[in-house]
């Protein structure tokens, strides 16, 4: 089953991230190919996404069911295709970064100020150190937490598995789309929250 994990580090407390992530209405439109979603209950919703499957683009309706909810820590969910034979799931996990871990920790590049020479070197170094491998990626960019500030990890794991006899081929088509989708969501959430933080003057 193709599975990807993407982690961002934000110079924000976990509580801020949680306040945003716990309400799917906040971040649903940030999903790649988002067309719409319909909340059916506290645990169930139907999502409509348009995404690339191989060479063409197709609209997929997914039933999302939340299976685990731990305040300020973790949300797990399952995905079931309503108009395609596909299933999967994922998790959002968040935690405060360990002290001293922020410098060089994975963060979304989109949120970074233009780095200086030293930071560009470290950027290159950490990108090289965090070797990209199948199913998992951690983007090493640079930032240092604001003086006296805190940093938190937000990790998004997503897995999708086509069903039926054509599964190997469909999975081969899905696989390249998953990681960019996970990166895109993580980066957009981080960019949004850090922009809000900056706007508030905090």
């Amino acid at each position: 089953m193709p599975e990807v994990t993407y982690t961002t580090v934000m110079n924000l407390p976990v509580a801020t991230i949680w306040d945003f992530v716990k309400d799917m209405n906040h971040w649903a439109p940030m999903l790649t190919g988002y067309q719409g979603h319909e909340v059916q209950s506290d645990t169930d919703s139907v999502w409509t996404l348009k995404g690339d499957v191989g060479i063409l683009s197709r609209t997929v309706k997914l039933a999302v069911h939340i299976t685990e909810w731990v305040d300020a820590e973790k949300v797990s969910f399952t995905l079931t295709g309503l108009n395609e034979v596909v299933e999967g799931g994922g998790t959002f996990t968040m935690a405060q970064a360990a002290a001293g871990a922020a410098a060089g920790a994975p963060v979304p590049a989109v949120t970074q100020p233009k780095p200086g020479l030293w930071r560009r070197f470290l950027n290159w170094f950490f990108r090289a150190m965090f070797k990209r491998k199948f199913g998992t990626v951690e983007r090493a960019a640079l930032t240092a937490p604001a003086a006296g500030g805190v940093s938190s990890h937000l990790t998004f794991t997503l897995r999708m598995d086509a069903g039926g006899p054509t599964a190997p081929l469909v999975n081969a088509m899905l696989e390249p789309a998953l990681l960019p989708a996970a990166e895109d969501l993580g980066n957009k959430i981080a960019a949004h929250l850090e922009a809000a933080q900056a706007g508030s003057g905090a």
Binding site: K50, G54, I55, L56, S57, R58, T59, L82, N83, V85, G163, G164, P165, T166, A167, P168, L169, N171, A172, M173
Partner: protein, 555 residues
């Protein structure tokens, strides 16, 4: 916009010997031939991808008397090929052009194998589209190119257009036939196909284009992507000496001492031109949305004579809601659902009106039948009606047996409920199905001769008896899939000579202007001789044009 230039001393942004517009089969072969003839070639492509309509096609090339036919045990002759083509063209094409094709296409095929990585394989069991007519063959004239490793193109691999349907299933036509891609979809080695896909292999039209592009690149001819030709430039004598184009938001002019070759595809994506010229109501083109008649307009602007304007390479089409390609709704050509047992096509009266398994070009024509009294076209809309037996055995658009049929296809437990759901007369449908089921049991379609031709059988289920194309419709639930009038391209445009030169409305050649492929007046008239006749004629005319233009690069 289509201003005629008659300046004595035209200053060009760039000078070339031959300018080729379009990178489908016609354009790439024209560029190759011109380059091989010693010309400096500029190859323009308005989209960001190379390959045009050819790249999304089956990539088969129909060449009568080709040198691979003997390998599959099929004999051919000039007389057979010409006689057959005369029937197919229905008296609309002068013999000189049909003779030119029969004589030159085999040479073109050999030349390509000599000059590019292309290697053709004759498809011994792929019949002509009217194989029982005089001169028709049960196979051999259609050739395929096998798989192509896109890594051979280097950075250009990213620019290779791929089919939204075949692009992710790298299999040869021979494999697809042997495996039973439509009739036995569970027999396909999906794991192996996934490996090939990940490894960068492509098939069908993308393979053909990949090989041709490799040949062009090897001669230093690199397509200029995102450059859209807008008008032809003529000198004071009327000779075409260059083109004006938009590139990167600016205007450029390119001189062409030997000539300009239009290989821009058809006009199926231009609603105004469709309405003005086509005999049928083409609502669902199957090609990429780049075939918008730009080449036709350029030719008209310099006075080209036009022919075959009411014709297209027709193809029944189905639509998966929300499925896009190149930013527009994808219209999938239906080559097999209608040919397999347990399916029929009916109109709103619930009546069949065509041999559903006949070739896609000709079986579309009854869709446009006009009832003069009703002043209406009774065969539009039309639906494919299938039963559960079909679903349990065959490929249904995007699902294979073992998967639920697509949820967007209307479904009902009874035929009467299905008819009511989609707007078919229930009584008419019941009577039609009862009659058809009798034919299926007997193995003979006494109304439309479905399942009689070896062509019909090619897309049928070889394991189904007594007829590979006929199966009863009796097991619920039942499904109705709307079939739309589509086409893989139009085939009307400027009239050409034996050397692909464009003729003016005054009957004289417009010096320096050539046309090849779907932009020109197709030499097959209303007909479709066999699989790959689109590309075979396009490549042959591209070859003729490229050679002739290169030979006249001194002006």
């Amino acid at each position: 916009m289509f201003e005629r230039f008659t300046k004595k001393k035209q200053r060009f942004t760039e000078e070339a010997d031959v300018v080729v517009i379009g990178t489908g089969g016609a354009g790439l072969v024209a560029a190759l031939a011109a380059a091989e003839g010693g010309a400096k070639v500029v190859l323009l492509e308005k989209s960001q991808l190379v390959g045009g309509t050819t790249a999304v096609s089956g990539g088969v090339v129909w060449v009568p008397q080709n040198h691979h036919m003997a390998e599959v045990g099929v004999a051919d002759s000039r007389e057979d090929a010409l006689g057959y083509l005369r029937i197919i063209a229905d008296g609309r094409t002068e013999d000189a052009l049909l003779e030119r094709y029969v004589d030159e296409a085999p040479k073109m095929a050999r030349w390509l194998e000599d000059k590019t990585p292309l290697r053709f394989t004759a498809l011994g069991h792929y019949p002509d589209y009217h194989p029982e007519h005089p001169g028709g063959k049960p196979g051999g004239r259609s050739m395929e190119t096998g798989l192509f490793q896109t890594a051979e193109l280097g950075d250009w691999a990213k620019a290779l257009r791929r089919s939204p349907i075949f692009g992710a299933t790298p299999m040869t036509v021979t494999e697809a036939t042997e495996w039973g891609v439509f009739s036995k979809p569970l027999s396909l080695p999906y794991g192996e196909l996934a490996k090939r896909y990940k490894a960068g292999f492509v098939c069908y039209g993308a393979s053909l284009v990949g090989n041709l592009l490799a040949g062009c690149l090897a001669r230093g001819v690199e397509p200029r992507l995102g450059v859209a030709a807008s008008s032809l430039i003529q000198d004071e004598t009327g000779r075409v000496i260059g083109v004006e184009a938009t590139a990167g938001g600016g205007q450029i002019t390119i001189g062409a001492k030997g000539g300009v070759i239009l290989a821009t595809g058809g006009f199926e994506w231009n609603s105004e031109l469709r309405t003005r010229f086509l005999g049928g109501q083409l609502t669902h083109p199957n090609s990429p949305p780049i075939s918008d008649g730009d080449g036709l307009r350029m030719a008209m602007a310099v006075g080209a004579d036009l022919g075959n304007m009411s014709e297209a390479w027709w193809c029944p089409s189905v639509v998966v809601p929300g499925e896009d390609y190149d930013g527009v709704q994808l219209n999938r050509g239906d080559f097999a659902i209608r040919s397999l047992p347990h399916s029929i096509i009916v109109n709103a009266a619930g009546q069949r009106f065509v041999n559903e398994a006949h070739n896609y070009n000709d079986m579309m024509k009854p869709f446009f039948h006009f009832d003069p009294v009703a002043y209406a076209r009774p065969n539009l809309p039309a639906w494919l009606v299938i039963d559960q037996a079909f679903v349990e055995r065959y490929l249904l658009v995007t699902s294979v047996p073992g998967m639920a049929p697509p949820s967007w296809i209307p479904k009902a437990d009874t035929l009467a409920e299905l008819a009511a759901a989609v707007g078919i007369d229930a009584g008419g449908l019941a009577a039609t199905v009862q009659r058809f089921n009798g034919f299926a049991a007997e193995g003979v379609d006494r109304d439309f001769r479905r399942g009689e031709s070896v062509y019909d059988h090619f897309y049928g289920d070889p394991d189904h008896t007594p007829n590979p194309n006929l199966g009863t419709i009796e097991k619920g639930p039942f499904y109705a899939l709307e079939v739309h009038p589509g086409a893989i391209g139009t085939k009307g445009g400027p009239m050409t000579t034996r050397d692909a030169e464009v003729r003016g409305a005054d009957g004289q050649v417009i010096a320096g202007l050539y046309a090849a492929g779907n932009v020109m007046a197709g030499i097959t008239g209303p007909g479709y001789p066999g699989a790959g006749a689109t590309i075979g004629t396009a490549m042959t005319w591209g070859w003729l044009a490229g050679r002739h233009a290169a030979a006249h690069k001194a002006g």
